[in-house]
């Protein structure tokens, strides 16, 4: 398929997942902070920004680390390409250019999601009913995912969509864990519950680990679970599956090799060893690996697709040197 179309589908998937994960993270953070002091609050919000790798960018804006300011930045600020509003808009724009490859229902679902979001008074939502808003975003993203799964043919375009979506999920989950693992102590368990909730994984966790409050169990669940769809390993395996089917004749392409290595590293990891070692470092390596895979995917499949910025050239007789 056209390189440009593949790239659009890939990024559509990425942006949708980004919007959903941001909403999840904010929902949980906001409610976990109802009883904190202003200092703790500032720190907590900085953690959120760090989890999204936006702490540096935010610091440059000079805005305060308060709930209102940070949430506005992450939800409705269109100068922030990672805000929910921006991300959903980008998902829609990318989908629009390949609209004829999507089912009518998928386009209509995504399109109306975007229009609804734009029509809302997001500032008022953030002030009076943030939980409503985050819930709406999460549900809409899940609806789009559901419609996509039900109506898209399993062709090349679908695989790029799935690939983008799952790489983003894996990366975001990694970052989330990264931001939280430092608060590893049984007494901070209510924060861990929040983290599990934000991943919609609290019930699944309890079914597997019962009432365990051992941080290692939480890490194992969110990082290494083979059955929970939002775990890092699960997302990577889904992505790898899609990537394998994109390679003609089972060829081992560069992104596939890289992704395989990252996935294998987690596949055979022992959570006890991880907890005893430098978990932060390990998570960083995984995150880096995922970023490299995304870059390789671009080189392998999209590098042919480039925007043309044209300049024209003409020579005048009698003229020379710098124009």
């Amino acid at each position: 398929m056209l390189a440009r179309d593949a790239e659009s589908l890939f990024w559509s998937g990425r942006y949708l997942e980004r919007a959903e994960d941001t909403a999840r993270l904010l929902d949980v953070t906001y409610h976990g902070m109802l009883e904190t002091t202003p200092d703790e609050e500032a720190l907590a919000w900085n953690d959120v920004l760090a989890a999204l790798r936006l702490d540096g960018v935010y610091a440059k804006t000079g805005r305060p680390l308060t709930a209102t300011a940070v949430c506005e930045f992450l939800v409705l600020d269109t100068t922030n390409a990672g805000s929910i509003l921006s991300a959903v808009g980008q998902a829609r724009e990318n989908a629009r250019t390949v609209r004829e490859q999507l089912s009518t229902e998928l386009w209509e679902t995504l399109n109306s999601f975007c229009l609804e979001l734009r029509a809302r008074n997001l500032r008022a939502d953030l002030e009076f009913q943030p939980h409503e808003l985050y819930g709406m975003v999460r549900r809409q993203c899940q609806t789009v995912a559901g419609v996509a799964a039900e109506t898209m043919s399993r062709d090349e375009g679908w695989r790029f969509f799935v690939l983008g979506w799952n790489l983003e999920r894996a990366e975001m989950s990694c970052r989330l864990l990264s931001a939280r693992y430092r608060q590893l102590s049984p007494s901070a368990f209510h924060q861990w519950m929040g983290t599990l909730r934000s991943a919609s994984g609290l019930e699944a966790y309890r079914r597997t680990y019962r009432a365990s409050m051992d941080p290692a169990d939480v890490v194992e669940f969110l990082l290494l679970s083979r059955t929970f769809p939002r775990s890092v390993l699960f997302s990577l395996r889904t992505a790898e599956n899609a990537l394998a089917r994109l390679a003609p004749d089972g060829e081992l392409t560069r992104p596939l090799r890289q992704l395989g290595r990252v996935r294998a590293g987690l596949e055979f990891a022992d959570v006890r060893e991880l907890m005893q070692g430098d978990l932060g470092e390990e998570l960083w390596v995984v995150e880096e690996g995922i970023r490299q895979v995304a870059a390789s995917v671009a080189t392998q499949y999209f590098s042919n697709s480039r925007e043309f910025d044209l300049h024209s050239v003409h020579l005048m007789p009698g003229e020379g040197g710098r124009p």
Binding site: R53, D309, H311, L315, P317, G318, G320, P323
Partner: protein, 329 residues
């Protein structure tokens, strides 16, 4: 006169350029005044050249470079024999310009074109010359040619590409291209078909057209002049910049309605900033007992490109990462 011409243009870019597509019009024509003996064109970095003749009868060499590069050099080498031109012996009346068949045949050279869109200023000047000279086509053409030289001073860098010809007249200065456009506009405003000519001039000094009896090799730029149609004679060629009749030291590449139809080099490139362009024309008179001259030393584009490629490999990694991050934010 037998002349060997080497036309070379080098482009150097500040940043890596991914792609470049171009059309070169540098090949001398073959007509009654000159005969093309040999011609070849080559490009570095290497590119296949596809050649054809365009609507105006000019040879075009088209080529594209799709490797990342920071420099391109295109070279055209031609050997041409020029002949002396016949004198004008007819003296047609201006009325002969209005013959319907004549008008139809010269329609394209009578209309305003982007670079010869005349208005009040030019029309007035041309009419003034007509009142002074009378109804003789040849005399009027010569008068318009003279007045072009009188109203303009040669000055490089004074004008931009695309400056309206009325402004050229108003500012009173320009380069050979502007002189040619003004002369063409003056003629057309009086119903005399006229066309723009691109070519080379074997001269010591571009702006004075000084003869080169004592020198056999000169370094100049491409040149522009014009031709006016004289009923019963054909095209009368005049060089308004140097105020002389076009003779055997002029080598014609081609003609058109104006500069746009016969640009020496036009094209597009992508990525990177504006290029610094370095055109050179070297013309050598060939006498019977000559041997080939030494070539000029110049920066090797291939070397520049190799260095650039090594740098590129280092840059691509960094840039992809950066881009990736940007998209993420």
């Amino acid at each position: 006169m037998r002349l060997d011409i080497r036309y070379r243009t080098a482009f150097t870019y500040e940043n890596l350029v991914r792609e470049s597509q171009n059309e070169l019009r540098a090949c001398p024509a073959s007509d009654e005044q000159q005969e093309l003996i040999a011609y070849r064109v080559y490009v570095a970095p290497s590119a296949r050249v596809y050649s054809f003749t365009d609507y105006w009868g000019t040879r075009v060499d088209s080529f594209g470079v799709r490797l990342p590069h920071v420099a391109i050099e295109v070279t055209a080498e031609a050997s041409v024999e020029t002949f002396l031109r016949p004198q004008v012996t007819v003296a047609p009346h201006l009325d002969s310009l209005r013959d319907p068949a004549y008008l139809d045949a010269h329609h394209e050279y009578l209309q305003p074109s982007p670079h010869t869109d005349w208005a009040e200023g030019i029309a007035t000047e041309a009419a003034r010359q007509r009142d002074l000279i009378g109804d003789d086509v040849v005399s009027l053409v010569l008068a318009l040619h003279r007045v072009t030289g009188a109203r303009l001073t040669y000055a490089r860098g004074a004008t931009d590409v695309g400056i309206p010809v009325e402004d050229v007249l108003a500012q009173g200065k320009g380069v050979c291209q502007d002189f040619a456009h003004l002369a063409v506009a003056l003629c057309r405003s009086q119903g005399i078909p006229a066309r723009y000519v691109s070519g080379y001039l074997f001269t010591r000094d571009d702006s004075t057209g000084t003869d080169v009896d004592d020198v056999d090799v000169v370094n100049v730029q491409t040149h522009a002049w014009f031709e006016a149609s004289v009923p019963g004679f054909g095209w009368l060629a005049l060089d308004p910049t140097n105020q002389q009749e076009v003779g055997d030291r002029h080598v014609k590449i081609g003609h058109g309605r104006d500069y746009d139809d016969v640009q020496p080099l036009r094209g597009v490139f992508s990525g990177g900033a504006a290029p610094s362009v370095d055109p050179h024309v070297e013309i050598r008179r060939v006498r019977a007992s000559d041997s080939p001259p030494p070539g000029e030393r110049r920066r090797d584009p291939l070397q520049l490109n190799e260095l650039a490629r090594q740098q590129q490999a280092r840059d691509v990694e960094a840039r992809t990462q950066h881009q990736h991050q940007q998209q993420q934010q």
